[in-house]
């Protein structure tokens, strides 16, 4: 599904990712954990195609194609979805209109028939129920005046509606209380599928109690320094990121 090899990325002249490699197969859930400043959000942004992220070396393959040469909308149509750490408020753009425009734009790019408003609303109702979202959110402007929890749930709602092949969750748990986090996790778990992969980027182990990963990676200093099964997340929780850093001190350091 996703193969990242020796990825180097500069942001504003500073190298943030320094040789990151990672492979996720269809159906797998990979957690990316790491301290602040390790490059976690950079990874999400560079995979989604945000401007200002300069790839200086390395490759990213998504289903056999070079992901890095695609525009953000082409990546979306190919099946890549980024749930934002800070979802953007767009005043004046109705949420329902936005969702339908997005879904139909993707379908057009894939050569599929667009959904009419009846078909679209039917799909929306199904997905709303799973996330316990209020209808009322559909009639408001995109994310405008949403609480932190509503914004994150709206991201997962979009994920459910757009049904991507690869979903990247960028610190979706940040700013959520335990109830909201459970709702978000329920939404994600309902989307787990043998044909769909997840990259769950998080600072804390807590979310991974609810979205149980197949693989846990530790991202530090711009690289994956350790990978393991779900128990690695618990070790990190117990010992802190310093524990990993100590085991992977650069050669020559004390």
């Amino acid at each position: 599904m996703l193969k990242i090899d020796n990825l180097h990325v500069r942001v504003a002249g500073r190298e943030i990712l320094k040789g990151l490699s990672l492979e996720a197969k269809a159906g797998e859930v990979h957690a990316i954990m790491g301290p602040n400043g390790a490059g976690k959000s950079t990874l999400g942004n560079v995979l989604a195609g945000r401007e200002g992220y300069e790839v200086t070396a390395g490759t990213v393959e998504f289903e056999g194609q070079n992901l890095l040469e695609l525009a953000p909308e082409e990546r979306a149509a190919a099946g890549v979805f980024l749930a934002f750490q800070y979802p953007v408020e767009i005043p004046g753009v109705n949420n329902t209109y936005f969702l339908r425009a997005a879904l139909n734009a993707q379908r057009r790019q894939r050569g599929e028939a667009e959904l009419d408003s009846m078909q679209f609303l039917k799909k929306v109702r199904e997905k709303l129920a799973v996330l316990h979202l209020k209808d009322e959110l559909l009639h408001r402007a995109v994310n405008e005046g949403f609480s932190g929890g509503e914004k994150k749930r709206n991201e997962i709602f979009q994920l459910a509606l757009l049904e991507p092949k690869l979903a990247i969750l960028d610190e979706t748990d940040s700013g959520l209380d335990i109830d909201a986090m459970k709702l978000v996790a329920d939404g994600v778990n309902a989307m787990r599928d043998p044909a769909r992969s997840f990259l769950v980027i998080t600072h804390y182990q807590r979310l991974l109690d609810y979205i149980v990963p197949d693989v846990v990676h530790v991202l530090a200093e711009g690289r994956i320094v350790e990978s393991g099964d779900r128990t690695l997340a618990h070790e990190l929780e117990a010992h802190g990121y310093g524990w990993v850093a100590g085991r992977h001190a650069p050669a020559g350091a004390a």
Binding site: A48, E51, P72, E73, A76, P87, V93, A101, Q106
Partner: protein, 421 residues
């Protein structure tokens, strides 16, 4: 005398009365230059060198009625093609208490209205030009207490002719006490002509009257259009105006509102959407002249490619106009590094106990929002259109009926950046 005034005034020696005065003043002072504050951002140098054939000229290609119909605008209709009233395309049937007099058929009425409202003391060159030469237009009068009902459609159309024409139109609209009128001023044309249109409109709203004015400016892409609207709003009278500026190569729109009676109210919503090398200059001049008057002005501007937009928003609260409440918001969006928007808010207050809020901004599309839309699969050009439409959405939000609002949203959408641009 420059080529422009020469072509307009040569051989017009037989003018009398206010027309002669206006022509003489125009010849003496000429067109305003760049040192005049009101014309700082709009140069008339190119216009001064142009020559126009005198209107009326015969239009060669007049579109069918359906081409300018607007949904929900189904009252009386006055159609002017290249500045000439078209009885065959018009329908003057109106509600009881409404009198519509086309000046071409009622020249005596034009003389009376000119004498009464020729703008004594004003040094505006285009007002003088209009006063000197105008032969067409209409007076619309609604008697006290009458409701004119369905919107009256004033269609001002530019059509191809043998030469580029200059035309003058005059409009005199008077509402008696408590009268109601809905009026649509609709400019349109195609790019096969480069006429100059010069419209002077005077509105008088009696006590408690209400005027709903919709201005849809979709003139031909090579046309020059000068408009001057003066509104005298009486006690407790209301003016609700919605303005779309989308067409014309060069346009200047003066919108002068005198809130003259206690409790008089103005609500103005407007937007200009420019592309190519279009130039649109809007001057709002709102004068609070009586107690407890209020004004609420909300304008948006969008400029793409090499276009230039100017918005001058002046509010004056005169001495004694205590309790006045004035709000003006002008937000603008630049879609191209070559586009330019100049916004000049100006507030002068000579009264105590007033409320005045003033805000003007010029910015660019929010990159974060663009990226967000794109990550959901919406292509860049569509994402830009969605954000620009949203930016303008407040302007038409309250417009009724919904079918008319939708038509204007569509018209706006056709002027937004298209794929491949």
């Amino acid at each position: 005398m420059g080529a422009f005034l020469d072509s307009m005034l040569a051989g017009r020696d037989g003018l009398g009365g206010v027309r002669a005065e206006a022509a003489a003043a125009l010849l003496r002072d000429g067109l305003p230059g760049p040192r005049e504050e009101a014309w700082k951002y709009t140069s008339l140098r190119a216009l001064e060198q142009r020559r126009y054939a005198p209107a009326p000229g015969e239009a060669t290609d007049v579109p069918a009625l359906a081409a300018f119909a607007l949904p929900g605008v189904d009252g009386a209709r006055l159609v002017f093609v290249n500045g000439v009233f078209q009885p065959a395309l018009s329908d003057l049937q109106a509600a009881p208490g409404v009198e519509i007099l086309p000046y071409r058929e009622h020249p005596g009425q034009l003389d009376k209205d000119l004498e009464g409202h020729h703008g004594t003391g004003s040094a505006d060159a285009f007002l003088r030009l209009n006063t000197a030469l105008v032969e067409d237009g209409a007076s619309i009068r609604v008697v006290a207490g009458a409701d004119a009902g369905a919107p009256i459609h004033l269609v001002i159309l530019g059509a191809p002719a043998a030469a580029d024409l200059a035309w003058q139109l005059r409009l005199q609209v008077e509402l008696g006490a408590g009268a109601r009128l809905s009026l649509v001023e609709h400019h349109l044309g195609n790019d096969e002509h480069a006429h100059l249109g010069n419209l002077v409109a005077n509105y008088v709203l009696g006590a408690g009257a209400r005027l709903e004015l919709l201005q849809v400016q979709d003139a031909g892409e090579r046309a020059t259009l000068i408009r001057r609207g003066s509104f005298h709003v009486g006690e407790d009278a209301q003016l609700a105006a919605t303005t779309l500026e989308a067409g014309a190569q060069m346009t200047r729109h003066d919108f002068r509102v005198h809130l003259a009676g206690r409790g008089a109210r103005l609500e103005s919503r407007g937007v200009f959407v420019l592309h190519g090398r279009q130039h649109a200059d809007t001057h709002m001049d709102v004068r609070h002249e009586a107690r407890d008057t209020s004004s609420d002005v909300l304008w948006r501007g969008v400029a793409d490619q090499r276009s230039r937009g100017v918005f001058h928003g002046a509010i004056t609260i005169a001495e004694g106009a205590d309790g006045a409440d004035a709000a003006l918001s002008n937000k603008n969006l630049l879609l191209s590094p070559q586009a330019e928007i100049d916004t000049q808010p100006a507030l002068e207050i000579y009264a105590d106990e007033v409320k005045a809020a003033h805000g003007a901004t010029v910015g660019q599309l929010d990159e974060q929002a663009l990226f967000y839309l794109r990550t959901r699969g919406i292509p860049l050009d569509a994402a830009r259109r969605i954000l620009v439409s949203a930016f303008c959405s407040a302007v038409f939000a309250d417009l009724q009926p919904a079918v008319l609002r939708e038509r204007l949203d569509e018209l706006l959408a056709t002027r937004l950046p298209q794929a491949g641009e």
